[in-house]
């Protein structure tokens, strides 16, 4: 597979504490890669290391096939657009003048500026001083700076921070368009799972500087398959009866290391079954009743992405 960015054992230590720990990211070219993690997980530090703004304590970053070092950094970065943490702008200048400065430094054509302004819906406000812009407009200007020169890769760190719902939707649509329209690879970070879910095709989840999950978003979605939750008068007996019938089921308990499965089952413990057809379910219910196991409740349950995320990170601060 062709990767736009790969990191190998990337580490960053601040004051004796590893903020990014042995990170191995593989970001395929041409995708929108969602870099998800709670606040303080190490997303921005990782992205800064990718841009050479922060020197890694250990490990390497490979961008567009080349290993980033001090000598080739600016050559590699000339093919990258970035927006880190908050938009960069000169408030006393207009958006056009800001883009002209960035175009000069990038060696990009100034002819693209009107088109870029149109892309981020800033054409009308293009001559207005940026200090009079709303946060959303500044954010869009930051993205315009990143898009200038048609880079192959764009790094956007929390690009929807502080935007109103309409602005968030606008930025999302823009990000989703970039790979198809310009063949760009987009790395977008967020602490909001719902946001990444709507933009990304690939996802990496980071917490406490460690990569917890990396794969396609549909693989993550596959973890969220539906199942049935069954409450009975005798869960232990129900479990053995269902297993006699070759139905894979398990108690919804936290298993303690070394303890047998049945030892953790209480009278109130529900059982988890795979999704069954109506006729199969009717047969099971009849079978349980025939064996003096009363069924109190059956409900469909779907493990949400949030649940999966919480399982992975063990933190509840990042959901929305």
């Amino acid at each position: 597979m062709n990767y736009a960015i790969q990191t190998k054992n990337l580490c960053k230590e601040y004051k004796g504490e590893l903020r990014v720990s042995h990170l191995n990211l593989n970001i395929p070219a041409g995708c929108v890669y969602g870099f998800l993690g709670p606040n303080g997980a190490g997303k921005s530090t990782t992205m800064k290391m990718m841009l050479g703004l922060v020197k890694p304590t250990d490990g390497a970053v490979r961008i567009l096939g080349k290993t980033l070092n001090e000598k080739n950094r600016l050559t590699i970065l000339s093919q990258i657009g970035s927006l880190i943490e908050s938009p960069s702008y000169y408030g006393h200048l207009s958006a056009k003048e800001n883009l002209e400065i960035v175009a000069d430094l990038k060696g990009a054509s100034k002819k693209d500026i009107p088109h870029i302004l149109e892309t981020v819906h800033l054409t009308e406000a293009g001559s207005k001083k940026v200090k009079h812009y709303s946060l959303g407009m500044k954010q869009r200007l930051g993205i315009a700076c990143a898009l200038l020169g048609r880079p192959k890769l764009i790094l956007l760190d929390e690009p929807t921070n502080g935007l109103d719902p309409a602005g968030i939707q606008e930025i999302r649509e823009l990000i989703c368009r970039l790979p198809k329209q310009y063949g760009m690879t987009v790395l977008v970070s967020s602490h909001l799972l719902s946001e990444i879910d709507q933009m990304a095709t690939e996802i990496g989840i980071i917490d406490h500087g460690e990569l917890l999950f990396e794969n396609s978003l549909h693989v993550l979605h596959a973890h969220s398959k539906e199942n049935l939750i069954l409450r009975t008068s005798d869960p232990r007996k129900a479990l053995s009866l269902l297993r006699e019938k070759q139905i894979s089921c398990k108690p919804c308990t936290k298993k303690t290391e070394g303890a047998s499965e049945s030892s953790g089952i209480l009278r109130t413990t529900p059982l988890s079954l795979p999704m069954l057809s109506d006729s199969d379910l009717a047969g099971i219910l009849h079978y349980l009743l025939a064996n003096q196991v009363e069924v109190f409740r059956i409900e469909e349950s779907k493990k949400s992405l949030e649940d999966i995320f919480l399982d992975l990170t063990g933190r509840s601060v990042c959901l929305s």
């Binding site: 800064k48 841009l51 970035s82 000169y90 006393h92 200048l93 400065i101 430094l105 001083k129 700076c145």
Partner: protein, 250 residues
């Protein structure tokens, strides 16, 4: 390098640098104009020395603060718009620092040159009969420029190190006061105050006779030792600024 310096010039558009420059020059002009208004023939005979004596003292009062404002305005726009993290992906840090140093340094060299022109202008306006002391004017240009550049590099370090420019401006203001105050103290003390170097390095001295109330100006040799120290400090400040900026967390 030229391309990136041009962008530096574009950045200062609407930052009112020419106005700042004009206000300072106008202030200097008015100050000296008020001083020389109604001078007599005896004073015209040593008019250039009188200007060359007054200018370093006025510079000690106003230039430390002006330099602090200049450095602050050049660096503050990068703090306000969080632009350093963008710039550092487009050009190397050494270039950013160099461009800003050249920009500020150019303003200060231009200002020293304008002061030299003002000396000549006052000669014509007030009809000084003294021959133009070219060597003293050249010395004045060199010592004023060097002292200003030294102070600029120090102010630059403060301006890029602290987001809040009040620190840099406070140091500039304190520098003005300390510099002026040290002029009333013996040379052995004032030579340790870098803000007073406009006066320490001047080549015209003055004697004031309390009884006759007459000022006499005299030529004083340029202190090469102090000039050398200023030059070394200037190099150290410039180099230290580069190192600190390259290591700065962005």
């Amino acid at each position: 390098m030229i391309k990136t310096f041009k962008t530096e010039l574009k950045k200062i558009k609407h930052r009112h640098f020419p106005l700042l420059f004009a206000v300072l020059t106008g202030f200097l002009f008015l100050w000296l104009f008020a001083t020389f208004r109604g001078i007599d023939d005896a004073e015209r005979a040593c008019g250039y020395f009188s200007v060359l004596y007054n200018f370093p003292m006025i510079n000690t009062i106003i230039l430390p603060l002006f330099i602090a404002v200049l450095a602050s305005r050049i660096w503050d726009m990068e703090h306000k718009g969080n632009t350093l993290k963008l710039l550092c992906t487009l050009e190397d840090r050494k270039t950013i620092y160099l461009n800003k140093s050249i920009l500020g340094g150019s303003f200060l060299l231009l200002f020293s040159f304008v002061e030299c022109l003002l000396i000549l202008a006052f000669g014509r306006i007030f009809g000084f009969v003294q021959a133009i002391p070219t060597t003293h004017i050249v010395c004045f240009f060199v010592t004023t420029s060097l002292t200003s550049l030294l102070l600029y590099f120090i102010q630059e370090i403060l301006s890029f190190s602290f987001d809040n420019q009040i620190v840099a401006l406070a140091v500039g203001l304190i520098g003005s006061f300390v510099g002026l105050f040290s002029l009333y103290l013996p040379r052995s003390f004032s030579q340790f105050v870098i803000w007073s170097y406009y006066s320490v390095l001047q080549t015209v001295g003055m004697n004031w006779d309390v009884n006759t109330r007459i000022c006499t100006y005299y030529e004083s040799p340029l202190s090469l030792g102090h000039l050398f120290v200023t030059f070394i400090l200037f190099l150290l400040a410039a180099f230290a600024g580069k190192i600190i900026f390259e290591r700065k967390d962005i």
